[in-house]
Symmetry: C2
Subunit: 522 residues, 2 copies
């Protein structure tokens, strides 16, 4: 049985979109976990499904962007959903779409009934050069060694497109400028977009060159943000009818074509086949315009326009909001912003909103089918998802079968120990003496988990390595961002008792004479 | 419909194990991609399925261990399987098990028929302190700030276990020593194990303290390695009958219990329920003994022994090769080694080999059912997988239905440009001038993809930013690990032609007079 046959098999369960939600994209003071929590809350607030069976999290590189790994556990904890299965899926900048894909299979298999798909990234706290370095790790090592970055390779692809399809430099600039202007105009209607101001031709032309022929306004920005989708096997008003995935060569030096991405073509072919439609059945699309020329190439790879004709479609206005096939009506990565792990999920959120009629702008024709395309790396790991509006009500069909609309299972967010008042005493819950210490710590290092007077558990360093025992009382203090503890030894206890006694004695009237019950040892 | 009901539903396709394979674990000069390729080849060489529909890759942190991200595309490329869908799944040190879990759902859904599951990590090239730092990123941030590491927190859990179950320090040491000795003995029979020598009580007792009460021999080593499994929906001799996943609190400070891992309990409960069995039906298990005490806690969380009785089972020899319930007959993480992303896959490989009778050692009773348990982080993201031997032949049931036994679809591995002889001329395939450069590069930076005289594509830096054009001829040279190109300008061409002419002229007999066809301009 071929791969194709298995897709046609009708044993696969249908998968539907329940709630969708996202944070505003842009520069945010929140942590990645906080952004994901907000997106999750927003998606659950619009969802007939309130309890999910598992979490699928798309994030590209929290390890290097924020210094955290084990992000799936971290997010389950932050959501107050500890216990629930939670996995992180990653395919570079299409990580969000990859998480959706894995979650789709989990629901389609019947293993889970309802799952929460999350995508997010926290990037703006780093310098542009640090972010560029992390982003560049997705490209081939040898190419990276030369100083190549994502914009540099995207620029080389653009130069090749220009040459192949005989565009003059000024014509190319006009076309790319039109894509940027269109997406910024679309973003101006989108309250979740990072940029909500239309831009002029002058703004585009005067923006700095990043890598010839690409200008700043050809590149998606650095962004913080998160998006979320509740998938379910219970029918809702939106079904995922097609889903496809493909890879392509990592290095530019290994490619047969410099002006198309085979990974998109493979993914699209599978998704169209599964949905039983051709490209002409799509009413609008959200595509991965990390660079303006990539939007054009994408519309060719998806079969919307013939190879080398995508730029003409832009010139003719076909891809604008009022065109025959609106592309990136949300503003795309260009104007909505591009928190890498979030983008693949955000595209589907935007598409679902529009299919449900929850958008400020209207198309000429009614939108019933949407396509979302997400790109990983330099077009090396790409996804296509097709959403279709059904005539079912937005709520789950049979309310009796639906789980009760309970409040979101979200615990009160853990209060960081740093911000809460600290009790200065406690006792040892467990301890160790560490001999192989991390950088910046000298062995032996006494560590203990201390239960403080307020009942909270705090990890702390011992001021010395003696007298450690479970249950032993300690003094606790904060130095910088660390906690230190000292064991209250027997001697200390005696001293303390005596001190208390003396204090009390001094507060008594002079006339009454008192003898200390115990003499302090020197 | 509850989560439980959906599991019971018989609409889920059965999933079988076809081929399994792994690399020898230990210190390796190979890259992560090369290790994964070898494991893939090994699994395919023993598999009736030769063509797979997709790749599922478990890796914990290649970003920081090796400086590469976009690992899914990189591995698809390295395998010569470019085009095939490839995703990376991550849940800290259980990443391999997580990849297996996602792949299981993909096959169970019918979306794919055959998938290749890979798990791997490359760690030994870094210093112990660098590796410890990367591994410590899986634990809670506040706890990390105190200098806590994975061994430190594992030690604290051990101290608490000792106290709760009233073990003296010497008794605890004896028990942990027995676990270490048992697993090293088991490893001595395993040709894939990192350590293949039994250890003595003296070796254990004289090994250095890492974090009290844990010694070096209580901790799994730092390892390179990879493992692979071909999953299929076509019946084979081994079925995956149960699979479960759960999470637990990230920080030690958030836990209700310090002597068990609820994430394992949740995962086990689901897996047993799905397989329709109780713990007593398991013949042997591979569990996550990253630290010797974790093996004991694991056997309690899995329901093999009552809470606080796991250490007695070790003392009584129940968990040895000849015991009633052999635990880690492969040597476990302790002796086989622990390349973090590989371990969850390697456990299943080892279990499949043993179920098939491909092991050097024999148990007292025949092994028909095996359980594998994998732990992510400090027990915060755990998986349980149950494998069952069927009475089917090891090959696919109906040979007519099986895909042809074609050679592995592995392209000749890409030869690194560095190692291959470089042609010193070529032409520009595409180019750019980069103005926002990565650290260590000054803008403007000319970059071009050069096709050299041997037809290979090489990314190179321009010696200046002028005369760049697609198709233009260049000189190419290597400086350190980078390539530099210089455009052969018109002037240079003329000079070159003249030089050639003069050389030829000089080689002619003196008597013949020749006039240069063109005068060289200064």
């Amino acid at each position: 049985m071929s791969q194709q046959d298995s897709v046609k098999s009708n044993s696969m369960r249908a998968v539907y979109v329940a709630g969708v939600g996202m944070t505003k994209f842009g520069k945010s003071p929140q942590t990645l976990a906080e952004l994901l929590c907000d997106a999750a809350s927003n998606s659950l607030s619009s969802s007939p499904v309130q309890e999910v069976d598992a979490l699928y999290i798309g994030a590209m590189n929290p390890e290097e962007f924020t210094g955290d790994s084990n992000i799936a556990s971290l997010v389950a904890d932050a959501l107050g959903m500890t216990g629930l299965p939670a996995i992180r899926v990653e395919t570079a900048s299409s990580a969000g779409a990859a998480a959706l894909h894995a979650a789709f299979q989990a629901v389609a298999s019947g293993y889970y009934q309802h799952v929460l798909v999350l995508g997010g990234e926290k990037m703006t706290h780093l310098s542009t050069s640090a972010t560029t370095r992390v982003l560049a790790e997705v490209i081939d090592k040898q190419e990276r060694r030369c100083g190549a970055t994502m914009p540099a390779l995207a620029a080389m692809i653009t130069e090749r497109y220009r040459k192949k399809y005989r565009l003059s430099r000024s014509r190319l600039e006009q076309v790319l400028c039109r894509v940027a202007i269109k997406n910024h105009l679309n973003g101006s209607y989108n309250p979740y977009a990072q940029f909500q101001q239309p831009i002029s031709k002058e703004t585009y032309s005067s923006s700095k060159l990043v890598s010839t022929p690409l200008r700043l306004y050809d590149c998606a920005p650095i962004t913080d943000g998160a998006a979320a989708i509740v998938l379910t096997s219970e029918p809702t008003d939106i079904a995922i009818t097609g889903i496809g995935h493909g890879t392509g060569p990592l290095g530019l030096g290994e490619r047969d074509s410099f002006t198309s991405f085979p990974a998109t073509q493979i993914a699209a072919s599978r998704a169209y086949q599964m949905a039983g439609i051709s490209p002409s059945a799509i009413d609008f699309a959200e595509v991965h315009d990390a660079f303006t020329p990539f939007e054009i190439i994408c519309t060719e790879d998806l079969g919307f326009f013939a190879p080398g004709k995508g730029w003409q479609a832009v010139e003719e206005g076909k891809t604008s909001l009022q065109g025959t096939l609106p592309i990136n009506p949300s503003g795309g990565l260009k104007a909505r912003g591009h928190p890498v792990g979030a983008s693949g999920v955000a595209q589907v959120v935007e598409a679902a909103w529009r299919l449900r009629g929850n958008s400020k702008t209207r198309f000429k024709r009614e939108a019933r089918r949407a396509l979302c395309q997400s790109t990983g790396g330099l077009g090396s790991n790409n996804f296509v998802t097709i959403l279709e509006r059904s005539d079912k009500s937005p709520a789950i069909q049979n309310p009796k079968k639906a789980p009760p609309l309970s409040p979101v299972r979200r615990r009160k967010a853990k209060q960081p120990a740093d911000e809460a008042a600290l009790s200065d005493e406690g006792h040892i819950e467990t301890f160790t003496i560490l001999y192989v210490t991390p950088d910046g710590f000298l062995p032996p290092l006494a560590l203990a988990l201390i239960r403080d007077g307020r009942g909270r558990l705090i990890m702390a360093q011992g001021e010395d390595v003696t007298h450690l025992k479970i249950g032993r009382a300690v003094f606790l203090r904060k130095v910088g961002d660390r906690y230190l503890f000292t064991v209250k030894s027997h001697l200390r206890k005696v001293r303390e008792a005596l001190k208390n006694l003396l204090t009390r004695a001094r507060s008594l009237p002079r006339k009454e004479e008192m003898a200390p019950s115990k003499k302090e040892k020197p």
